[in-house]
Symmetry: D2
Subunit: 506 residues, 4 copies
């Protein structure tokens, strides 16, 4: 099921680009940023922003922000104003509320005694509330509720600017990292440098790519000398669309300096001893685009393994396997492969359905999700269907689909969910429905199959998910301890288990 | 490959709705029309229009038109103005050119001596040019280039209005049908009636549905007494999304009268003796939504059979079968089933890529279609891939995809096209590139595999396509005559064979 | 008082331009048309349209239409598409109602057996209803309610196209003029010619100008050889803003042919014997821009004379004379001059007040027109004010202004209206409130001063208005007969006297 | 001449409103703010903003900002979100440059340890640069270039927040006033209070009004008990349009507290001993709306006196006096009265001329300002014209008007300017062209009449302007010292004399 309907939302995507060589380069940095953000659009559709710097001394910064999708938010004539940028960072933001939302749009730029810095941020500072108080106690007013402004003011604050001839931003970033352990993947732009930062727990993703001539994009012969610039992105899926090759991930706790001279690792801030990394496991399950690579593995492949593992844990006596298009398809194909059942399509999505002007209290309201899907009856009429979904969060969108399939002739509809039930809130940047809204916390969960009208419902186990993410497909006994696994493999499963990577301040 | 890139375009979709019972009914006709058009959006995205009638005597007509997708073209507050409509017709239009395109937007409404009629039309009058002259010779000025205006004026013209007490629209429609044999699926609204008309060759589709209470939509118990109204649509895929059950197709040459009292077949205008019907075979191959039903069969199923037939005709020694998402997927699954090769996904589509502000002459231009697809490398690296496409029209969009797959590690890329090469223009409502642009007519077609960079290329045969559409899967010898088949089964294959259903006037 | 508040509205403005010399000329015809329409914007703000012709054989016509003010309706990039136009006509339209108003937007273009013609029209056909029936009886459907479409179809209709080798548009226009006596100022474009037509009664204005090099615009030395082209416009006020010199008026009943070769009078269709011309006297009183010239006299000067005549007819014992800005100022200055009272400004207009989001039922609603004017208290506190208005139509806008002045310290407020009371509807193109809404037809008119809160109210007499328009300032005895005057001088005063220039068909 | 063409611009207008009585009141505060800003629209058209507070404890602040005119910037549905506001401040801003201008839009709101404050500001801090450095040295990043943000951070900064139980904003405002002497008229909103502040020199205007029932607006009987709330505005012209009575001006250096309980003067911060106040004299000459009241006198009346003084200083042997509409009209009427020459109108303004799509290098470019004005020839042909303008700043807009008048028949055109030549930059909030652009600093000024094509040119003297502002009309000998006058009367004439009210820091 689409997460847009489930109510689960990613906070943001960040993207940066530095042209190699002297100013002005011929590299179309503003356009690369725009296309990079388009490729990260699935991580946030509310607003988009770009800041470019000429990289000169002094630099000129140019900012472009707008509401909505990237292609809506920016106008062609405005992009032209950024064309002198030799480097820049961009941001695409998930929905917020309030009237003047443009104010919360990132990147956030502030002028300091040593010039302007720009910050783009994906994640959520677990101790944001305490940090806001600290900043305000110092006499600073905060004009937005965004963590980016907070981070920017924290960077400007300590140590006091006057004591320094140069700002030493790296020390300031390091200082920030000791004040707040997670979660943030951060791009900080200052003059001609972008600092790419990932929190010590590595909760949010951040990858580096290398721009090469398009003609050499896929050839193995693009050497160092061919480098046209560097990009850094929440997900590697954006690299191909702007002509970059995957280079490496920023490591948990690492500060990487990216400039026209190349990529340089400056420092790796350690976690408290014994703490494992805590990369968000839902990046694999849902958020990331299937062609992105984390920890050396393609997200699609992990989802396919989730499907296979689900087939092992929850086999079904049925005739066909199918998917709720489009995000559950890899898992469905995995389930089909492992189970040996044929994979068929049962639903056809109308991609033009959007906001439609349906007045309340009409018969059309009752149609609900059915407006969005057509039933491919021939493929399942008279058959027992295993329907794979990637997540059931609130339980109110799968129900009409089951009804549709049954009424169109499916004799049985078995729901198999390729992730465990979400039970706990996230404080690291994911927007999850309240505990009360989560189906897994409702009394109805006792008989969820009855509640949603399915013949049967089974979820993937936490252990199974972790195995699939690890690369293994295995059978899990009930006595195995998940905690040792998360320690070993370093993924945050807090929303599934309630075990948070750091102690939460309330 | 998406036809939007191939340059092939459907002309239009039409949709009508009549509420049962007396005026004003509680049925939200304007909203049903809107949702119906949204479900036909794949048939035309340039503009949309709706005309409703109160169905009273005299009736009040209200018109709403706009450029772009249905959800963009209409505003909620404007829809409210149509709320008294007891019946109405709507239209969604494929791209045209020119400055004031809104003028060409349908439905077309004219005031006559006997009151207003509204016309919506899908198709193209083969003898439009002669008919325009006839109308103009009579002293009528035509304000647009649309066939709808032409049809409307023809209906008003003969016999002269003054000679009649009542207009007898049915006789006028019948008269029109003798003047122009094809192609048109037509909705003509007058006062409280919609006439649903399909040309004698049945070139364009038209289906009727019955509105029932949503709660009874899928149950078998919705009897006559439950009828809330009637809808008529280019494709049956729109029925589910507005709460209607499939009723039947309008037959070639038939005039069906739809009113609050029900559906009534008035007449069937015959074809010249010996002429078979000529339903456009490309509705099956490409235009229609997979969940639509024509001639009693689901489009998805026909496409799946095309894939199976293709596997018989053009088997491949390969490791995996895949699709160019999304339209070729049914054929790919059919090919996989028939061939026994595993089906995998190799491309991940970025659904947010749209108009992006790329300036000419930049390195980004070279990326081309690659911006739109991500490679799911794990699924095919080191493997021989059979890639199914539904059509290769101009040959310039499949090429970069093959390049992408090869560079990402595919050892071989065999292209299998689930339809025959297009070689001839269409004069019945499909917008096909010029003969010179069609790859099948270029010298490069001799070595098309080399031209597009594929390991091999094979098209489905015309005989194979016709078999698949018939419902059979068979092996075709070279001596079989396609002509007998099209005669028997009544499909127009003119764009593939050059044999047009009627003699063309030049 | 602004007519926009009084509810009186002009129907339209028309404008045409032909470049001298061969195609393509360097003259920017589309831009001249745009600027010309901007200068006629006071005649209609609802929509605007332009059609240009290349003037070649065959010609290419390009149409541009949009809702709202000219500067809003047209986009710069669209204007570029008209840049090849060697000639063209344009139209600016007063408000209509209904959903798809763009359809009614002029010019109207239709394709005929002999090619396309375009028509722009100011006025209203008195026998439109009968003419519509005639056209429809012939079997023609009319797609709009506009007179322009009607005129266009009438031109195409008779004599039948087939009987002619060439269309002979002049004969057709002449034929039209015999079928409908008034009111129309018409521009008909065909290929490389514009026919400028004024109805036999000359009810609506139409003037011709000559384009000269800007550098010679005001010099007397711009001879024939300097002619760059010709323009034709509802009002001469538009000439200066596009670099044209006033040439002459089109005469009542005249058809003038304007082409690249110059201006040629073709024919003058006579009125029924004894009928005087009937130029709309309200063009002088209100509609026209003060710098326009009709019948050899400047509109400003006529209004000034109206003020002087009003001072003679309705002298006042007061301290200062003032105006309701801005349209009544010439009359106020005339009144001041004639009466010897000092002219002062008492109201300051806030030009930014427009649609403001005031919710119903709030205290702000009660402010009414006061939001629009500030009181210049120093100029009238403690004084007796004569306030000149150009018209009092419904009586509900002058009232709050009087209240404002009194409360701000005026001891007396005498209203003097520089035109007679409107009592009758107009059927020649002016949108006048219903008879019931006109203050002059209400019982309250008996004590209008009491009704609107003024110390006294006096209107200019019909005789006085006619004198002022004639050029004379005189005292009128009660026994003088207005009918003889309108006969002699040829102005339509139907809305004041109920005497219409032609017999009305009901 | 319109200042919009002269290049002189006001920085801003501020407006605040507090409803009397308890929350929620029935007063439509958001709408009053909107209308108040519309009435101040002449002070800034680039962007508009409103912040309302519920006035509860804790309060809820709601912000609304947009680009363009007030009626464009705000949408009706957004205003509804502010409907719970019991008090609020608003701002309308003059043009700035740059891409993301919305960021600079005021009011500026920041969250502090003691809650949110909102600041709206008209003026320019003379020592802004030093103050920015001070703030940044403290470790604060500034996200905009606006003085409002700077003021807001300065208020938050000193004394440090942590040392206080309550913020004591008044002490903080007082502290700010000692740090920066001018220029600012400031509205600071905190919870349920608005602090209205005027700098010690009183450089920018600020007036207080009292909201009363509309029915009692103009009666003298609206007593204390009728008070519905309080408003504070850059100009009193906004009071009438929202139903408020003029109360008094905020005095130079005064902090006035406005709450639901009424208006209270808290403190008056003194100027350095011997320094006179320095109210901007150009508020009288140009910026303010004529119906506003400063220092007890109506702006219109001052302009009228300027015209009379000009007639004394620069009498002309001519036939008629006229104005460049609309802003110079009061001075022209004053000149006419004093000189005894008749006042006539010579130019008619086309109010629809706006941005029009004129391509470069066309003949139409040469038309220049003539597009905007029509010549009322009858009023001046064959006559010697005295044309009053309020200011000639760059000298390039009056020139084509003189040309137009001469070519239309004026025998002489004498330019009389109702203010002295501008020679020096302003550092107190007025946007003046660079010294090099000012005609008074160019060599051409030597023979300005020749340069602009006038028969003669005379400016009002500085002494004469000061006299007119004082209320006197007199003859000035050359030996009189302007410095004593400005001391006595307290107006800033720096742009005319180069004598700034405070020492400038460079």
């Amino acid at each position: 099921m689409e997460f847009e309907e489930s109510g689960i939302g990613e906070e943001c995507g960040v993207f940066g680009c530095v042209a190699a060589g002297e100013w002005p380069t011929q590299l179309e940095v503003a356009q690369i940023l725009t296309l990079g953000l388009v490729a990260l659009q699935h991580r946030g559709q509310e607003s988009a922003g770009i800041v470019t710097s000429t990289g000169t001394n002094p630099p000129t910064y140019t900012t472009l922000k707008g509401m909505g999708l990237v292609n809506t938010a920016f106008k062609a004539e405005d992009l032209l104003k950024l064309r002198n940028g030799n480097l820049g960072i961009g941001h695409t933001r998930y929905s917020t509320t309030g009237i003047s939302e443009l104010q919360n749009c990132q990147p956030f730029v502030v002028d300091t005694l040593h010039g302007k810095i720009a910050v783009a941020h994906n994640g959520e500072l677990v101790n944001a509330s305490a940090l806001r108080k600290k900043v305000m106690r110092h006499g600073v007013g905060l004009s937005t509720s965004s963590d980016s402004e907070l981070i920017t003011q924290l960077l400007a604050l300590t140590p006091p600017m006057e004591e320094l001839d140069t700002p030493d931003w790296v020390a300031r970033i390091q200082n920030l990292m000791t004040e707040t352990p997670t979660s943030y993947s951060l791009l900080v732009m200052y003059k001609d440098v972008i600092y790419a930062v990932r929190d010590p727990y590595g909760n949010r993703p951040l990858s580096i790519g290398r721009l090469v001539p398009i003609s050499k994009l896929h050839s193995s012969g693009a050497g160092e000398a061919d480098t046209e610039g560097w990009v850094v992105s929440s997900e590697s899926c954006s690299f191909q669309s702007i002509g970059a090759k995957y280079y490496r991930e920023v490591q948990p706790g690492e500060i990487v300096q990216i400039s026209k001279n190349g990529v340089k690792s400056l420092i790796v801030v350690p976690r408290p001893e014994g703490d494992p990394p805590a990369f968000c496991i839902f990046e694999y399950v849902y958020f990331a685009r299937p062609d992105s690579i984390f920890e050396g593995q393609m997200v699609y492949t992990v989802r396919h393994r989730c499907g296979r593992q689900l087939a092992i844990e929850a086999p079904t006596d049925a005739d066909v396997v199918s998917t709720v298009p489009e995000s559950a398809t890899p898992a469905a194909l995995g389930y089909a492969q492992q189970s040996g059942l044929p994979y068929v399509e049962v639903l056809c999505k109308n991609r033009y359905v959007g906001r439609t002007f349906i007045q309340p209290n009409t018969r059309l309201r009752q149609l609900g999700v059915a407006k969005k899907f057509g039933a491919l009856t021939d493929n399942f009429a008279g058959k027992r269907v295993v329907l794979i979904d990637d997540s059931i969060v609130r339980g109110n969108t799968i129900s009409p689909i089951i009804k549709l399939l049954k009424e169109a002739g499916a004799t049985e509809v078995h729901i198999r969910v390729a992730s465990p039930p979400i039970r706990f809130p996230c404080y690291m940047g994911i927007n999850i429905p309240t505990k009360e809204e989560l189906i897994a916390n409702k009394p109805e969960f006792e008989d969820i199959a009855g509640y949603i009208g399915a013949t049967s419902v089974r979820y993937l186990s936490v252990e199974g998910l972790v195995s699939a993410v690890q690369g293994g497909i295995e059978s899990h006994g009930k006595d195995e301890r998940i905690s040792t696994k998360t320690t070993r493999f370093g993924h945050c499963t807090a929303c599934l288990t309630g075990k948070y990577p750091v102690e939460l301040e309330w």
